[in-house]
Assembly symmetry: C2
Homo-oligomer: 356 residues x 2
Amino acid sequence: MTARPTLADVAARAGVSASTASLAFSGSGPVSDATKERVLAAAAELGYAGPDPRARSLRRGRSGIVGVVLEERVRSAFLDPVKIRTLDGIADGIAPLGAALLLLPFIGGESEGATIEDAPVDAVVLIGCSPRVEHSLEILRRRGIPTVAIEGGPTGDDVPDISIDNRDATRRGAEHLRSLGHRDVGVVTLPFDAERTSGPVDAALEARASTQVTIERLQGARDVFPTAPAVAAATSSIEDGRLAALLLLADGSGRALPAEARPTAIIAQSDLLAAGVIHAAEELGLAVPGELSVVGFDGIRVDGLRHDLTTLDQPSTDKGRAAGEAVVRLLAGEPATSLAFTSTLHLGDTTAPPAR
Amino acid sequence: MTARPTLADVAARAGVSASTASLAFSGSGPVSDATKERVLAAAAELGYAGPDPRARSLRRGRSGIVGVVLEERVRSAFLDPVKIRTLDGIADGIAPLGAALLLLPFIGGESEGATIEDAPVDAVVLIGCSPRVEHSLEILRRRGIPTVAIEGGPTGDDVPDISIDNRDATRRGAEHLRSLGHRDVGVVTLPFDAERTSGPVDAALEARASTQVTIERLQGARDVFPTAPAVAAATSSIEDGRLAALLLLADGSGRALPAEARPTAIIAQSDLLAAGVIHAAEELGLAVPGELSVVGFDGIRVDGLRHDLTTLDQPSTDKGRAAGEAVVRLLAGEPATSLAFTSTLHLGDTTAPPAR
DNA sequence: CGAGCCGCCCGAATCGATTCGAGCGCCCGC
DNA sequence: GCGGGCGCTCGAATCGATTCGGGCGGCTCG
């Protein structure tokens, strides 16, 4: 017999009915020890590998899988330590469910296979703040799948959003710089739109911005330094942070601008970007924090960075865990509410009073 | 009506049978345009969100999901750029299937939910070379799930293994060092076992090693430098590479050993480790490559590293893609064979003749 | 000694979609 | 005018497990 044995085969061999065999496996029903043992023995003889998860999930109505929608390709999503921490938190939060995580590409791709339109998931977590959140929400709502967003911007009452105080936190970082005496401050921002336009931020770019987090953090900086020049990075990476910083600190030929023509401090919207800013400063021969103060955002430990970065420590893992817990509550039929975490300013060794 | 509508509801509303409605959705059968349109209209009115993936997968026998077993927790797995590239390659390779990736924790955990014992997957890719591969293979074999391993060590005829020439490649790197004149060479290795024991490598540790890749690469180094001292890192990370290198280069008080007491070159088993080695050298005031040559492995671009690392460029993405394509073949009923890729020595600026 | 209760097992319905073979008009050609 | 062929639709079986209500013994208590 080449076909895999089914529960019915096992039951027949054990001389019991399929229903009894099922009970014996799930262990929930009233089955005598003798019978259970006989069923398990029969299963072992036939090489039965347990109930087919597909059939079980059809009958039970649950698949034991939670989908995670990444706003980007797998490749880039996992280069971001914040996302990884968040994922880890989610895995932690849904642990009581014993569910696995299904990576779902953002929709709009041409893939004919599993997307949020058509994936056997019990619930979905949307990570990130892509412009597609609206579209995704609509599909999930129609499918009736419980959904939780992380930094999803305005969702609906039915979709809890887990976020942090992006604007307020950045403002506190900016105020720290102002209290040190800084007046000329530059900003290196996360991408503004799905096209990841990089370079100096102007009104046009701000107008078509679709990334909530970028805007909120920029507003926080502008609350304190209304005229701060900003440069957008293409991705949240060290290299793109370095490139963006060079636009603020160097002239076209790659030499440092004179002191009076460059900012004395840079607010980076992520720690990876901040690490790139520091690299750029070192490359230009500018001491950190002596000639340039740097503030980051995230509170990750950048592998290989030898500074104790002054940054806004956000609870990424907690955010993920909260999202996971919200999923658990939704699946239990309980209401789950949106939640905003607070970031704390960590004072490292990358900020100091300006030289001049 | 609060319950989600089913295909039968749609069919009833459209005045056709369920079978016809099904054909109208899948688009494969001979259905008149008028009927199809009527069905789709009825679906729209009822807010039908497409066929239930659970039921479909039960009937079709396929779920459209490919499992990926990570040897570690999600957290650590995704900190490794090689794994990320591999994952990306897998996603690429299985694209024709249009399948999503299900992250499966390694087994042995107490999680009651989805594991490889019980997950609705059509196929599985085992990444990494954990000692649990054997156990995983047994379960998957019993379940009759097509499986592909990546660096899985000895599998069976039924499980293709995608690997690279770890030993031979490392040997070529070592020969490059020897041809430059190096005689005293140290090795910084990947972890040896599941406990991630770190520190100097001795016979006892080698004896209980369970990680195939580590051993093969160490053998390659020993082929050229039989007595090379080796230090194991706890993880493949910059920081652990730095710590391991310090054991080879510095004394207990954190000062560089005299030139005659330390190696003139270090072979690191990954690029992240190599980056850490370079950091350690700079910290000790040793010039790279002047006073210390460094060879890495992987060929990734380490974010933030300002050297052009001499390394063994392995086709990580290709490996993943090959695994994905093997999955596609297995699912098509075709045989898939093991495959070994070749790494190429990339000559960067981190190797030079020894100073003495 | 009999009635009731309890523990254990079975039968049958159900989850929702897919698929195969059969049936039914209708048109065309002979 | 009639039979064959073709295009579309329907019924019913099927995928494999779960679950609920019922029934059948055996034991206990009055």
